[in-house]
């Protein structure tokens, strides 16, 4: 210790001790309240903010993935539906066309058959008319002939009626 004699920085002096105690305690009190505790809280807040933000980002990412999957499925469904609709429309179209064709054919057939029937009827009517006309004409001719040859014989009369009746039957 001898060589430290007169080494002023190591001499404990009451004035410096008192002042350093006051300043140190004051510095401690003021800095704790206005600097260190706010900084501590600020850092803690920021750290929790960051971890929250990271957790939220993770959650958002997961949600996005979910949403994407959902979208995909919706899209796939829509595509499926479209395909179905298209197929159905095609089928419907084919069916309609087929039906229309069928109907047209039926109509045509019906018209054809009606026409045939009408023709047949017309033909029959014409035939009957022709027969009647031919009968009348034949009767008239025959009458005229017979008037001349068979004047007033009853046996001839009934014979002629029988013949006319047979003709009508045909």
């Amino acid at each position: 210790m001898m060589f430290l004699a007169g080494f002023a920085p190591f001499q404990p002096t009451p004035g410096l001790a008192l002042w350093s105690l006051i300043i140190f305690l004051l510095f401690w009190a003021v800095m704790a309240k206005y600097a260190f505790r706010p900084m501590m809280e600020g850092l803690k807040k920021r750290e929790s903010d960051i971890s929250n933000a990271l957790a939220e980002a993770q959650k958002a990412k997961e949600e996005m993935a979910n949403l994407k999957a959902e979208n995909e499925s919706i899209l796939a469904e829509a595509r499926e539906e479209r395909a179905t609709m298209l197929r159905e429309a095609k089928e419907t179209k084919a069916a309609i066309i087929a039906e229309a064709k069928e109907k047209a054919r039926e109509e045509a057939n019906r018209m054809t058959s009606t026409a045939k029937m009408e023709i047949e009827n017309e033909k029959k009517a014409a035939m009957i008319e022709v027969k009647n006309d031919v009968g009348n004409m034949a009767t008239e001719i025959a009458e005229k002939i017979l008037r001349k040859e068979l004047k007033g014989s009853p046996e001839h009369q009934s014979f002629v009626n029988t013949l006319v009746g047979e003709m009508n039957m045909n």
Partner: protein, 491 residues
């Protein structure tokens, strides 16, 4: 590594004083023989000394003694002649007259002799002066800021005045006295002589000091102020060292806000403003750190995550403000002391300041100590009785040794760094023969610049390391005092 460097620096700083002390003792004998030689030849006794040109130029400190032919050598019995460092230490004092007190055992109005010594340079005294606390703040030996003086005088009570009244000059010695106060080497001293006519302003011509041994066998420096060509003993402020470090009982207590006190206040204020600026950024929307916040925050987080949490665990929030206070207070003051040309402020190298912090830590450790802590000290568990006999005193001593090491480590490291830098700068004066040899000065400068730069870089690291070490040890002491033990699990 850093500790080794610090110890080397301390040894380097003190070795000149040790060796020169030894040299002086050796030279003293040689000198007395020389004097006797003169006595026999009967030359110039009691005359003006200017004519004497003894071949002592190689020994700076002994230059003056060669001239003391007017005195009986018996007067100096018990004195150490090697310590006439009074008013010279810088090389620029060659033209200043140097006063020698003729009888160092007297106190009042002692006759003085004047000489014009060769310029000399004492690196030890210069370094110690530069790192000591002072009542004036000297910047580059040009600007002297007077500080308020608050003195508790045991005879007159409290006294307030400005140290501007002393009109400090070279070496922070006051040119004028105020009442019975004078300013010597930056510190207020009081003239002890009751018969001294203490006016409000009087001229102080110079100072002298001499190393003495007190009646109790302690070494101390006896100092004198020279007023009206008479020397008056002056005493320093009260120092609480029990005479171990050159302190003497004193009639006044200096409570002035000194250079160190003002530095502490300024650094505290700067830190407060910096932190307020940083803390404001935590308010409002969360944002990335910027500005001063980016500088303070990593240190804050480092102390929190690597010092407080590992030692204190869940309780770290309770002690965090204390640890931060210690870290930033010490770091700020360490760095403040590193600023060149700012006056070599050596606050954290001052044992008083580190002692106060160590005492605060000691008190906090012990009032926060839980049952387990006290049990470990007073009745160590799981140890046989004969081990307890050894362990209890060791533990009790350890309680006090812990804060003591805190106090000494910081003060020693920082003072050592300051001394090392000043010693390297001192090379300029040593090589330059106290400024008289231009070539030598240039050689010294060429050496001093790289060495000082290296030392400053080391000191910058030391500033951080020592602040960190004080903080981590505080955390470990607090951690040990508050730790919950489970004796069933370990031991």
């Amino acid at each position: 590594m850093l500790r080794i460097l610090a110890i080397v620096a301390i040894l380097m700083a003190f070795s000149p004083s040790l060796t020169s002390q030894a040299d002086k003792n050796g030279l003293k004998k040689a000198k007395e023989q020389t004097h006797q030689g003169h006595d026999h030849s009967g030359h110039n006794h009691g005359h003006d000394h200017s004519g004497h040109n003894h071949d002592h130029s190689g020994h700076n400190h002994d230059d003056h003694k060669g001239h003391d032919h007017g005195h009986k050598h018996d007067d100096h019995a018990g004195h150490n002649h090697g310590a006439h460092n009074g008013d010279h230490g810088h090389g620029d004092h060659g033209h200043h007259p140097h006063y020698h007190v003729t009888d160092y055992n007297k106190d009042c109005g002692v006759a003085v002799k004047i000489d014009n010594p060769e310029p000399s340079y004492d690196p030890t005294a210069t370094a110690i002066h530069h790192i000591s606390d002072a009542n004036v703040w000297t910047i580059m030996d040009m600007v002297r800021v007077p500080l308020p003086a608050i003195i508790y005088n045991k005879d007159r009570g409290m006294e307030f005045f400005s140290t501007g009244k002393f009109q400090a000059g070279h070496h922070d010695n006051g040119h004028y006295g105020y009442k019975d106060y004078v300013l010597f080497e930056g510190n207020i001293h009081r003239i002890t002589c009751p018969a001294f006519d203490a006016k409000d302003k009087y001229e102080v011509q110079g100072f002298d000091k001499e190393e003495m041994v007190s009646a109790a066998g302690k070494n101390y420096e006896k100092k004198f102020a020279i007023i009206n060509n008479k020397a008056y003993n002056i005493e320093q402020k009260t120092i609480w060292d029990g005479g171990m470090l050159g302190g003497t009982p004193s009639s006044f207590i200096d409570l002035s806000p000194t250079k160190n006190v003002v530095s502490m206040g300024l650094v505290s204020l700067i830190l407060f403003l910096l932190f307020r600026k940083a803390v404001k950024k935590y308010q409002g929307a969360p944002n990335a750190p910027s500005g001063v916040q980016s500088f303070l925050e990593p240190m804050f987080q480092f102390i929190r995550d690597d010092v407080a949490v590992p030692f204190l665990g869940d309780k770290h929030e309770k002690f965090l403000p204390l640890l931060m206070t210690i870290f930033f207070f010490i770091l700020g003051l360490n760095l403040w002391g590193q600023v060149p040309f700012l006056g070599n402020v050596n606050v954290t190298g001052s044992l008083t300041v580190t002692a106060v912090m160590a005492i605060v830590v000691f008190i906090l450790t012990n009032i926060n100590g839980n049952g387990d802590y006290w049990k470990h000290i007073l009745w160590p568990p799981d140890t046989p009785w004969f081990v307890k006999i050894i362990l209890i005193p060791v533990e009790l001593l350890g309680m006090f040794i812990k804060p003591l090491t805190l106090m000494l480590r910081l003060a020693g490291n920082i003072s050592a760094g300051h001394i090392a830098i000043l010693s390297f700068v001192g090379l300029i004066f040593i090589f330059g023969k106290a400024g008289t040899n231009m070539a030598g000065s240039l050689t010294g400068t060429a050496l001093a610049i790289p060495l000082t730069m290296f030392m400053m870089a080391i000191e910058l690291i030391v500033a951080f390391v020592q602040a960190f070490v004080f903080t981590i040890l505080t955390a470990s002491y607090l951690g040990a005092a508050t730790e919950e033990h489970h004796h069933d699990d370990h031991h």
